[in-house]
């Protein structure tokens, strides 16, 4: 590791395990004049020359007052960041190509509000936040995604020009945060369901052929399987009901790696599997997942879906 990199790490590292709050101290905050500040400085120079030329005593005073205002503005801009407490939060998984959002909590325990805080994890994609005095605020930093797998939150650029806009103060944040990126789905028609090798034993376990009555909804069940009409009859007092089916359960949908065309690149094959998975899930068909070295038994419901998507996101062919 080069010296520069070492220094950078020393300066910008998040001095904790990535979950504890960080309070921005002096050493983390940098400040330079902004473009508006340069315009202001130029105006002051011209004004000073004018005041000297016309020998305006009060002109001198005004230029000096404005220069003082600039310095005061610099300190206030610095202060707008100094002491801000940042706590890493959660981030919900998204599909590749969508925008991931990393949640941070900004806490302001000072007696003045902190306005116009701009946070960006990548150029041109920032959020503006204002934290009132003695308040905290959850913000979500957007980050565009390309690849499936774990996406680490890169260095976050936290900057502000408030109150006068003459200076830009900034700090780098590097909380240990990652977001799971599901593979980008590729639309394709579902493969034919194969007969289950253990069909007899699993009889009536959750097939979808013949209606066999209702059962109470479990958290793992997808909302799509809820029998809304039947549930509505007890006017919302009873639990939600799920339609039970029996018979014909010998046929189960296994989304198998081997079913995809092995001439295609791996990533495309994963995309096709993801597309199938989403189609099956949307239709309410229970499905299993079979990847080299990983088998997930057929089931349905949100947790199952997330489980399978995570497996696909992290799958190394």
């Amino acid at each position: 590791m080069g010296i520069v990199a070492t220094i950078k790490q020393q300066l910008f590292r998040w001095r904790s395990d990535g979950t504890a709050p960080l309070r921005l101290g002096q050493r983390r905050i940098f400040i330079i004049p902004s473009r508006g500040g340069l315009l202001y400085a130029l105006a002051l120079v011209v004004m000073l020359i004018g005041a000297i030329n016309y020998n305006l005593a009060l002109g001198h005073a005004l230029v000096f007052l404005l220069a003082g205002l600039g310095i005061v503005g610099m300190i206030h801009t610095f202060r707008n960041l100094h002491g801000l407490i940042i706590t890493p939060g959660r981030s919900a998984p998204v599909f590749a190509g969508e925008t991931a959002h990393f949640e941070l909590t900004l806490e302001n325990d000072s007696s003045s509000p902190r306005l116009a805080l701009e946070l960006a994890a990548e150029a041109g994609n920032s959020v503006i936040a204002a934290v009132n005095r003695k308040k905290s605020l959850k913000i979500k930093i957007p980050l565009s995604t390309e690849k499936r797998g774990w996406l680490k939150l890169p260095r976050v650029h936290l900057s502000t020009r408030y109150p006068l806009g003459l200076f830009t103060a900034w700090a780098y944040l590097q909380p240990e945060m990652r977001c799971l990126i599901y593979p980008q789905p590729i639309a394709a028609s579902l493969p034919v369901a194969s007969p289950s090798p253990v069909g007899g034993e699993r009889h009536g376990d959750g097939g979808q052929n013949d209606f066999a009555g209702f059962r109470e909804r479990q958290p793992a069940d997808s909302p799509r399987h809820v029998a809304w009409k039947a549930s509505a009859r007890n006017a919302g007092e009873g639990p939600l009901l799920i339609k039970q089916f029996s018979g014909g359960a010998e046929v189960e949908l296994i989304l198998d790696w081997r079913l995809t065309n092995d001439a295609l690149p791996d990533e495309t094959r994963i995309g096709i599997l993801t597309g199938w998975l989403l189609t099956a899930d949307a239709a309410g068909t229970p499905f299993g997942l079979s990847l080299p070295g990983l088998q997930i038994a057929p089931a349905s419901g949100d947790l199952h879906r997330q489980h399978c998507l995570k497996a696909l996101a992290l799958f190394q062919p």
């Binding site: 002096q26 473009r35 508006g36 315009l39 202001y40 105006a43 011209v46 004004m47 020359i49 004018g50 005041a51 000297i52 030329n53 016309y54 020998n55 305006l56 005593a57 009060l58 002109g59 001198h60 005073a61 005004l62 230029v63 000096f64 007052l65 404005l66 220069a67 003082g68 205002l69 310095i71 005061v72 503005g73 300190i75 206030h76 610095f78 202060r79 100094h82 002491g83 325990d109 000072s110 007696s111 509000p113 306005l115 116009a116 701009e118 960006a120 920032s126 959020v127 503006i128 936040a129 204002a130 605020l137 913000i139 979500k140 020009r161 408030y162 109150p163 006068l164 806009g165």
Partner: protein, 643 residues
């Protein structure tokens, strides 16, 4: 709240920008041509209308057309685009037109910077205390606009204004340090435009009937004087300006050629004084008759008029000494005497005839007396004399007989010259008003005066003031007493009720202190100050060090304030600590690990006399701290019961 970033201007920032434009351009209405003010107002109203109706701003081409038209107008009006008045006109025009182009934050930043710049231009016209205060308020507004611009919708008006005020106040120490220590350069850096000092009034280079009478209606201060000793009596206060030797029948002018050197013989001890002259755009200074020691770069010409190399374009201080009794050129150059006997031919025949009659077996002194008694007989002193024709002196002496000092001085000099006595007109100021509050003598334009000087064998040039013969009050107490009731005079000079006068004295003393100490701070005074601070050799390096260390100190103080503010404590806890302090005074010390309830238990055992009142405190504290009812009154009352 958090929103996606954008650089566009939010709708509610715009009124702030309008206010900034209005506050920084409006005072220029006083000295701007009317059409420009009308144009600026139209732009402002148009921009406001578009904002109100939420309509599209005008297109680029229309704006370019407007700018070109405006520049053309300014070019036609001022014949230039630069210089003071044209430059200010351009800035005002750009400011109001920029309001029609407010799209992004960058446009708004331009408006704010222009606003700050426009503040400076007001000082080109006035540097008085009211102007200073007004501009401080305007600066506050512009700063608030800047804060609103960057704070966005999260920055409501009241906190924005408060923050702007706090920041301006915090900037003041920097201003003071920079004002005192920033190396001053004596301007100007290049030739000033011709209109730089337009509008200054004062005594003019020539004298024709009416020129001083006009000045007499002007209450502006011409100069201020502080004597090292007591103020001499009023009738001795003749402030000498240009001496006029040449007469063409109506107008008097100073002699343009070289004068032989003056020879002064002092007959009384010199008195020294310091005078602060307002800018009058002329080269002469007004020194008390007769000037002795002169300030640097000033010299006396053969007529005892003190002049400088450069015109006085700014208020400046000079040190003089004066001799009230003197003998001036007892032996005079014949060419000078010749010059001071000349009269234009074929003018004022009656006057010439009269003077020639006087000449017969009379001494010069007797002739002078004769002339003065003539004036005491039927003449009257007025600021509104009848208009005079070609033979003005004849008309004045034999018909109208009403006039102002310039008429008397001129008529007297013509009489003397016709009678063979060398004589000339001296213009200047006479008298002055003593302000007991700050000890300055104030001489106004209305104290402008003209008198005569005659040359007598063996005695030299002697001052004769014919006005004193007509109206002794003019010389002894001042112009307001000399004029009959109803003559137009500036209200300031005329109102003489005691309280008005005291008020005026106070105001003028404040203004004078302002002029002397604030506006009059120049490179020389800076050197004096630094010498007093122990920095005698003030090259740029020591100034830079002093300036740098003072500013760093201020920044450090401000940083400490900004970064180490003590967090506010919860009021409930603050009150609880107050209760604990009450206990400490009764020798009950509170252990940090004790809960309030445990403390109560211990107090009940060790200090039973305190137990009951402290119980109330604890109850109220627990309610205030942990229940939903967070009123503090009960806790405050309980603590009050502790004592």
């Amino acid at each position: 709240m958090s929103t996606p970033a954008r650089e566009a201007l939010d709708r509610h920032t715009t009124p702030w920008l309008f206010a900034t434009a209005l506050a920084t351009t409006a005072p220029h209405v006083i000295h701007q041509p009317l059409w420009l003010s009308a144009l600026a107002t139209t732009m402002l109203l148009w921009a406001t209308w578009l904002w109100w109706k939420d309509e599209r701003l005008p297109g680029r081409w229309l704006l370019i057309l407007l700018v070109v038209a405006g520049c053309a107008g300014i070019l036609i009006e001022f014949h230039t685009l630069f210089g003071r008045d044209a430059g200010v006109a351009m800035l005002v025009m750009f400011m109001t037109m920029k309001l029609l182009e407010l799209k992004s934050r960058r446009d708004a930043m331009v408006v704010v910077t222009l606003g700050y710049f426009l503040l400076l231009t007001h000082y080109l016209y006035s540097q008085s205390i009211p102007t200073g205060l007004w501009l401080l308020a305007a600066m506050w507004l512009v700063t608030a606009t800047l804060i609103r611009l960057h704070g966005g919708p999260d920055s409501p008006p009241r906190p924005t204004l408060r923050l702007a005020g706090v920041m301006c106040l915090q900037a003041i120490p920097f201003m003071l340090v920079l004002y005192l220590l920033f190396p001053r350069i004596a301007g100007p850096l290049w030739g000033l435009p011709s209109d730089a000092h337009a509008g200054t009034t004062g005594l003019s280079e020539t004298m024709s009937p009416g020129s001083i009478a006009q000045l007499a209606q002007n209450a502006d201060i011409a100069f201020r004087v502080r004597f090292d000793g007591p103020v001499p009596p009023k009738q001795k206060l003749y402030w000498r300006g240009p001496v006029m030797e040449q007469f063409d029948g109506t107008t008097w002018r100073p002699y343009e050629g070289r004068h032989p050197a003056a020879h002064l013989e002092m007959l009384s001890p010199p008195i020294s004084y310091e005078t602060t002259l307002e800018a009058h755009n002329q080269r002469w200074l007004l020194a008390l008759d007769a000037p002795g020691e002169l300030p640097a770069e000033t010299f006396l010409n053969g007529t005892l008029a003190a002049t400088r190399r450069q015109a006085l374009t700014e208020r400046q201080r000079f040190r003089f000494s004066a001799n009230l009794d003197y003998r001036f050129n007892a032996i005079e150059d014949p060419s000078v005497l010749q010059r001071n006997l000349a009269l234009p031919e074929r003018t004022n025949p009656k006057t010439q005839v009269l003077a020639k009659q006087w000449r017969i077996d009379r001494t010069p002194e007797a002739i002078i007396r004769k002339a003065l008694t003539l004036f005491t007989s039927e003449f009257s002193y007025t600021l509104q004399p009848p208009l005079l024709g070609r033979d003005g002196i004849d008309e004045f002496l034999f018909q109208t007989k009403r006039g102002f000092c310039e008429h008397y001085a001129a008529a007297f000099v013509v009489l003397m010259r016709a009678a063979g006595i060398p004589a000339r007109v001296v213009s200047g100021y006479q008298g002055g008003e003593y302000n007991p509050l700050d000890g300055y003598l104030v001489i106004r334009q209305s104290d402008a005066h003209a008198w005569a000087e005659v040359w007598l064998e063996g005695k030299g040039w002697i001052r004769v003031d014919p006005t004193a013969a007509v109206s002794p009050a003019r010389i002894e107490t001042g112009i307001a007493d000399a004029l009959p009731f109803g003559e137009p005079l500036p209200a300031m000079v005329q109102w003489r009720a005691e309280w008005v006068r005291t008020l005026r004295y106070r105001w003028e003393a404040i203004n004078n202190a302002w002029n002397q100490n604030v506006l009059g701070y120049n490179p020389q005074r800076q050197r004096e100050l630094l010498a007093r601070l122990g920095l005698p050799d003030t090259d740029w390096r020591s100034l830079a060090i002093a300036l740098g260390s003072a500013c760093s100190l201020l920044v450090a103080v401000l940083m400490l304030w900004a970064l180490y503010q003590r967090p506010e404590r919860d009021p409930v806890i603050r009150l609880w600590h107050k209760a604990l302090r009450h206990l400490a005074r009764r020798k009950v010390d509170y252990q940090p690990w004790e809960t309030p309830l445990e403390l109560t238990r211990r107090i009940r055992e060790q200090h039973p006399e305190l137990a009951e009142s402290f119980q109330h405190v604890v109850d109220a504290y627990l309610v205030a701290r942990y229940s939903t009812d967070n009123s503090l009154t009960a806790l405050r009352d309980a603590i009050a019961q502790l004592r």
